[in-house]
Symmetry: C2
């Protein structure tokens, strides 16, 4: 039975833990600083398929299969999936032949953490033993859907981010010795009235600030409780804004704060401007880098706060602002 702490955070009272996780990425991510960490790296953007959308479906399907293989074929009671394609077709098509109940989510780039929040609550609620999350994104499908066909060769401003071609899948359950999910903090929507669709970091950082602050307030913890705090895809611009927002509260986030969008690429050499984005960013870094490091004991207490920008090309064209959202999950090793 989950226990409510304060306004937004729920404590997971059952021992809900990571039973397995898997990550799959594209070529550029496989050339970045985390290249050795991913389970599978494609040598191109097609993954052997004839369209980018089918490549994205294939990538998610492989990631899901790899995760279940690592769990020795455990069949989850339910899949929670999401992606950035219109009508969330890549996650649903990826698992359509699995025969497992499927609940689709949409939290933009925050979907990885949204899925983990829900999965932990569903298991803790008693009705499910194992729930698998699956999220991902693809640079080429996202570009043509949200911006312009890649063939145009559009210029990108320095604040823009590079949608990660990548996927992450986590199987949560009660067995094994993996990291526990001890708390979840579902986020509120925060509208900082950012209008620039090429500056997602600025749109999402206030939501990250809101959710992480709520998490600290609800749990009575502070930054020092954690060995590491990750945001999902604020990129270099949003990473700086979030630190500035906490600095106004007298809090120096220091080196224990990192952003998945900054970690996944070499920002000096990989021509990705402000860093990585997309729901595959936080998902692949979580599954390829963060959870394996926790299993090695490098970090024992981690706050994972994935961020999303709630916009569409149509809302931007109609002059709407870009609200942000952030959902946070606490992973802790039993030590």
């Amino acid at each position: 039975m989950a226990k409510r702490l304060g306004g937004q955070t729920l404590a997971i009272t059952d021992a809900v833990r990571v039973m397995a996780s898997a990550s799959v990425t594209g070529k550029r991510e496989g050339e970045g600083p985390l290249k050795a960490r991913f389970d599978l790296v494609s040598q191109d953007s097609y993954f052997g398929q004839d369209t980018w959308e089918k490549a994205e479906i294939f990538m998610l399907n492989r990631c899901f299969s790899l995760c279940l293989e690592k769990a020795c074929g455990t069949v989850p009671d339910c899949i929670l999936g999401g992606d950035l394609l219109n009508q969330c077709v890549s996650s649903s098509f990826a698992v359509k032949d699995s025969g497992i109940p499927y609940l689709g989510l949409y939290g933009a780039c925050s979907t990885s953490a949204e899925a983990l929040c829900m999965a932990a609550l569903l298991i803790d609620g008693g009705g499910m033993n194992n729930v698998c999350t699956l999220t991902g994104s693809h640079f080429c499908t996202a570009e043509r859907q949200y911006r312009f066909p890649l063939e145009y060769g559009s210029q990108r401003p320095p604040t823009s981010q590079w949608t990660v071609t990548g996927a992450g899948s986590v199987l949560l359950g009660r067995a094994g010795k993996g990291p526990l999910i001890t708390h979840v903090t579902p986020g509120r929507i925060v509208d900082a009235e950012i209008m620039d669709a090429n500056n997602m970091g600025a749109a999402m950082a206030p939501a990250a600030y809101d959710t992480i602050s709520a998490h600290f307030r609800d749990t009575g913890r502070d930054l020092n409780y954690y060995d590491a705090v990750f945001t999902g895809d604020l990129g270099a611009v949003g990473h700086d804004i979030l630190q500035e927002l906490f600095r106004r509260d007298g809090i120096d986030m220091g080196v224990r704060y990192m952003d998945c969008g900054v970690l996944i690429y070499d920002l000096n050499t990989q021509d990705v401007h402000s860093g990585g984005s997309g729901c595959g960013c936080s998902a692949s870094v979580l599954c390829g880098h963060i959870l394996p490091a926790m299993e090695k004991g490098i970090w024992n207490k981690v706050l994972f706060a994935a961020t999303g920008a709630l916009m569409s090309p149509v809302t931007c064209q109609q002059g709407c602002s870009i609200p942000g959202i952030c959902h946070a999950v606490t992973f802790e090793n039993e030590v």
Copy 2:
């Protein structure tokens, strides 16, 4: 604590009930057979806004506000919302200023039932006291997104359905005397390899058959247990296919089986071809018609099975089939 029954169904063991519900629709729905049932009917497709997308946001916002007003201003612990617009912007924009944690869902037209499944499980899981669901769709935004600009005046085949301009919002919690949610059956994806994007009923009916059959198998109930069984938006074509699928099992669904997409319009006079669709279809009929009838005691045991077609214009253009999904919820009065 939810209790697993069989392969897919979960019994809700806490008394999770409908505390309030509200429905808002457009003009055509307000001229149909259920016209007197909706809380608010717009006199045009704009709801006083300058674009259809903003009209959809306004409609969802009004529906959400009306639902909370009926619950005397109860503030939910969380909102579960979804819609058909790309990036689910109408539900997120509708509640962006509420200050309430928001979890976005995407289950195509099945989102209303998906949200109810999750909301009931979140409350039963102990961490939340009240959860509000919000789903809706708009004919004009859906047409231009999925098909053609309305100005083209495209011809529609007889199997096509009319996206409902409508929204429904349900506040679930533990107080009051409203109908209980006693069981939820999250659905599996079923791909019957339908390729015709103008025949959603055929694409979704096999998923409805799969989920309703699983519900009966898991619970040991049959059709006769229920006073009424509703599918979400199979329309006339899918309604006939579902009956035929059950007939092969020797089951006559009879008059207790109804489809929200058939109920919401007069199929003979309203020029909607096979009937209503869209996640506003099942949501507005549930909140305007089904739940109020349960409160009057007309039905005491209802199975509500909303159906969704998991496709996008891109998947159709790339030659993919149209898988379906269906999630089911049992509402029961204490008698």
